[in-house]
């Protein structure tokens, strides 16, 4: 390749599997003008270590496959130029929040399960178009639809990363998803209660870390999460609705009402209704949740 600068960059890549254990392996990669971290990883695969696993597809920041933690920052490797990083060795680690599979590849399947949980776009049965929609509505929705599902926001969110609440918290990506559906002028479903109860919207205490790392510059907190929280507040805390609800004595689940204090992650997770408490102590909680989700009925599937 032309553009060789004559210098080299040292890459420290975390290699290994949960079974074999992981360790940083050092590679020296010749520096090329404009080289991104993914180029360096490719050089390693081609020349130094054909067994180094990483995900990538478009190499143009459009597919969101090559997410990794470079020098501790969650980024897309295809968009991170080595000359923009601090001098010295470059560490490349897999996303920490997701279970490791091998080297830079992690198990992100939980995200796909959450997506299935969210009822899809649904228009009124008698309103089949062609539709008239105003550009201003498209402009607002387009921000949510820009998401490339790199899951960097999920990776950096402390509710998932530090507290490991994948079982009760959808995560920023999916609040963006819900917001995009809820604000579509032709969608007729209401996902507010689900987002609060199953999605655990209340756990988010708007630290904006997700917004910080989004490579598409989506204002996740301001434009997706906060509007959803406002809908919840409107639904739950509007005084007239509150009185109406009290009069009708509709049972509510008190635990989900306010933003709860985050429990100690070391403690076993709290009871979620019909779960078998005894089974929770010694099982892989993620597996159990997956099982629950698989067997749960989906109202939109007849």
């Amino acid at each position: 390749m032309d553009g060789l600068t004559g210098s080299a960059v040292t890459l420290r890549v975390l290699k290994g599997t949960p079974a074999s254990g992981t360790q940083e392996v050092e590679y020296a990669v010749p520096m090329v003008t404009g080289m991104v971290v993914l180029d360096a990883i490719h050089y390693v695969q081609h020349n130094l270590d054909t067994d180094l696993a990483c995900r990538w597809n478009c190499k143009a920041a459009k597919c969101g496959s090559c997410s990794a933690e470079v020098n501790g920052h969650p980024v897309l490797m295809c968009k991170t130029r080595i000359e923009d990083l601090a001098s010295g060795p470059v560490t490349v680690h897999p996303l920490k929040t997701f279970p490791l599979v091998k080297d830079l590849v992690t198990d992100v399947s939980r995200n796909y399960e959450v997506n299935r949980e969210i009822p899809p776009f649904t228009h009124a049965p008698d309103d089949t178009g062609p539709w008239r929609i105003q550009q201003v509505d498209i402009d607002r929705l387009y921000e949510y639809r820009r998401c490339i599902e790199c899951f960097l926001c999920q990776d950096v969110c402390h509710v998932l990363r530090s507290h490991n609440y994948a079982d009760r918290f959808y995560g920023p990506r999916f609040f963006v998803r819900v917001a995009g559906l809820e604000m579509h002028p032709k969608d007729v479903l209401d996902r507010t209660d689900q987002t609060r109860e199953e999605g655990g919207l209340g756990y988010c205490n708007i630290t904006k870390c997700c917004t910080e790392v989004c490579p598409e510059h989506i204002h996740i907190t301001d434009n997706a999460i906060i509007p959803l929280k406002e809908r919840v507040a409107d639904r739950r805390w509007d005084p007239v609705r509150f009185i109406g609800r009290e009069l009708l004595r509709r049972p509510a689940s008190p635990a989900a009402e306010a933003t709860p204090a985050l429990p100690d992650p070391a403690k076993p997770p709290r009871n979620r209704g019909d779960w078998d408490e005894a089974a929770l102590t010694n099982v892989d909680i993620t597996e159990l949740v997956k099982q629950q989700i698989r067997t749960r009925t989906r109202p939109w599937e007849k």
Partner: protein, 603 residues
């Protein structure tokens, strides 16, 4: 031969590939009542469809009332130099309109006109403003919409990160496919009533490409091995505008929407050279013409410092650029430190699309082997010698649906599940495992698959690229055959779970097959037409304007034959004149006369 235990999965319809075509086919087959397995090499939603930026071409006539499916038909046929399968083009131009509205009903977004209808933009060689789009991310929007629809469609199951390497036949019928799960390397076999190939195109055998790692031609190679015919393989599209600097970004696509929105091309001397090459369509000429023009300018010494042309949008105003081309602003800012609202972009041709592919029946997408269907870029015929921008997103929707429905019908009526011949499975397992065998004395004795890939890219780029000659093509062929020989000795270290070196071995094998077909077809087509540019045959050849090149397997030998094109029927022939760019004098030489003569002789 030993047989390693493997997982067997059953379904009515197996869809290989989960880009737009695969997902649309899967939805159609599931809605027809079949159980469907969708298999992808990557994660769901990462397919190359996300790279499509410009939009979906459809004659809605929202912006320009003069447009219609008939004009769209004419533009597509003329753009393809009339080598297209006209029946496919007819179905396509008709049905893509419904597919766009359907996508909207499934939640897809499109930019709007002032009165709230779907907005359409201008694009190369389309008569009127025709491309339905949302910003410059229409492919992503399409993928996300189909993805959401698919995962909520009953009876459809997605298998992510599986590599299928070979089709399974029972007698003359395709009845399944086998391969392995990438995460742990375990072998799998899918048993089904019908297979839909939706594996996309193949650009990875070229060095400067806008394709992702997935574009290795697996589907076409598998189909070829199973005895199916490939069509028009010599036609490989160079997109005129890829990034040329910095080296790491070379080849990354710069959407045609930049020119659709009014971007202009200049050479290093500041001259708008497209005014000379195509005074009518100018920057919005068809892709083959613009790509060649840039190539000529660079060759004549009027290129930019990094060997390209300047693409300029500054005159549109910063606000308009940021609104209509947001991902281009981001891409140049992040990868090249260029602010495109203040500086021109440097661009040059990059491999983008493959017009050729599996030869299919127009209505159903059925390949020439029973039980096998192909839709989207992996299928050939719709685009002829050159594809117009915006016709690929429409292609995958229209023919995704059609192949899915046809495969479902076949699986229900004729595709009874067959017994899998385990000798085939054992042979495939042995072939897959050969590069991992510890039998030879370490990596030094074997060939590195990545090195073979790099050598193949060099041969294809230099000798079978944008400009070709008998001499260069023969050189490319010799290189491919030599690499094929060496590929038998590929060796990689490591185990089977997520081992990219091992995965690359199979990719290289597939790419060699496809490259050979491209080169052999290009040798046979001794003329310049569409994307095929022969330095030694600069003119069009009347006789070659009436035939397609068809590749088929004859034992271990690859054969390329001329197959006559059905003449354009009388009901469609007058439609050609509806194109704004119709010029009887400029019709491909010999097409109408030769076709009419043949039609006359036949009757």
């Amino acid at each position: 031969m030993t047989l390693e235990p493997y997982d067997t999965l059953d379904c009515d319809v197996l869809v290989i590939g989960a880009g737009g075509a695969g997902m649309r086919a899967a939805i159609a087959a599931a809605e027809a009542g079949c159980s469907v397995a969708v298999v992808t090499k990557s994660l769901l939603g990462k397919a190359h469809t996300v790279m499509a930026e410009g939009g979906i071409a459809a004659g809605l006539a929202n912006v320009d009332a003069r447009d219609s499916w008939e004009v769209h038909f004419a533009d597509t046929m003329l753009g393809g130099q009339l080598l297209n399968n006209w029946r496919m083009v007819e179905l396509y131009a008709h049905e893509v309109i419904d597919r766009v509205y359907e996508l909207e009903r499934w939640g897809g977004l499109f930019d709007r006109t002032d009165d709230g209808r779907i907005m359409q933009r201008a694009f190369g060689a389309h008569s009127w403003k025709r491309l339905c789009h949302v910003g410059d991310r229409t492919g992503l929007e399409l993928i996300r919409t189909l993805q959401d629809k698919l995962v909520h469609t009953p009876r459809a199951e997605v298998h992510m990160e599986y590599a299928l390497t070979s089709l399974i036949k029972s007698g003359d019928r395709v009845c399944g496919a086998m391969g392995y799960r990438r995460s742990d390397g375990r072998f799998v076999a899918f048993r089904c009533g019908a297979v839909v190939l939706a594996t996309g195109g193949w650009g990875r055998m070229y060095r400067e490409t806008s394709n992702s790692w997935e574009g290795t031609g697996d589907g076409a190679a598998m189909a070829y091995e199973a005895g199916a015919e490939l069509l028009d393989m010599e036609f490989v599209q160079f997109h005129p505008t890829g990034m040329v600097w910095p080296p790491g970004a070379r080849g990354i696509l710069v959407t045609e929407a930049v020119r659709g929105e009014g971007g202009l091309l200049y050479n290093a001397e500041g001259k708008r050279f497209m005014l000379e090459y195509d005074p009518v369509k100018k920057e919005l000429s068809s892709r083959d013409v613009v790509a060649r023009s840039i190539y000529e300018e660079v060759k004549a010494g009027r290129g930019t410092p990094h060997g390209g042309a300047y693409l300029d949008v500054r005159h549109l105003g910063a606000e308009q650029v940021r609104k209509k081309l947001p991902s281009m602003v981001e891409q140049f800012h992040a990868l090249a430190s260029v602010d495109i609202t203040r500086e021109p972009m440097e661009v040059g041709p990059t491999i983008h699309y493959t017009m050729g592919g599996v030869r299919v029946e127009a209505e159903t997408g059925a390949a020439t082997v029973p039980g096998l269907y192909a839709g989207g870029e992996v299928a050939g015929g719709l685009h002829g010698a050159n594809r117009l921008g915006g016709n690929s997103l429409g292609d995958i929707l229209v023919f995704g649906k059609r192949t899915g429905e046809a495969a479902a019908e076949y699986a229900r009526t004729r595709g009874t599940k067959r017994h899998i011949d385990e000798r085939l499975v054992a042979a495939e397992q042995a072939a897959l495992l050969r590069p991992l065998d510890g039998s030879d004395d370490g990596a030094s004795a074997g060939e590195n698959p990545y090195k073979l890939h790099e050598e193949l890219q060099a041969a294809m780029q230099d000798d079978a690229g944008i400009g070709r000659s008998e001499e260069s093509l023969q050189r490319a062929l010799a290189a491919i055959l030599e690499l094929r020989e060496r590929s038998m000795r590929m060796h990689v270290g490591g185990g089977r779970p997520l081992n990219p070196g091992w995965h690359t071995c199979r990719d290289v094998t597939n790419m060699l097959t496809i490259s050979e077909s491209i080169v052999r077809s290009a040798i046979e087509r001794r003329e310049s037409r569409g994307s095929q540019w022969r330095f030694d045959h600069l003119e069009q050849d009347a006789e070659l304007g009436t035939v397609n090149m068809v590749t088929r397997r004859d034992g271990a030998t690859m054969r390329v034959e001329r197959v006559p094109i059905d003449p354009l029927p009388d009901r469609l022939r007058p439609l050609l004149q509806r194109s704004r760019f119709y010029d009887a004098a400029k019709l491909p030489k010999g097409y109408l006369t030769a076709a009419a003569a043949r039609a006359g002789a036949a009757s």
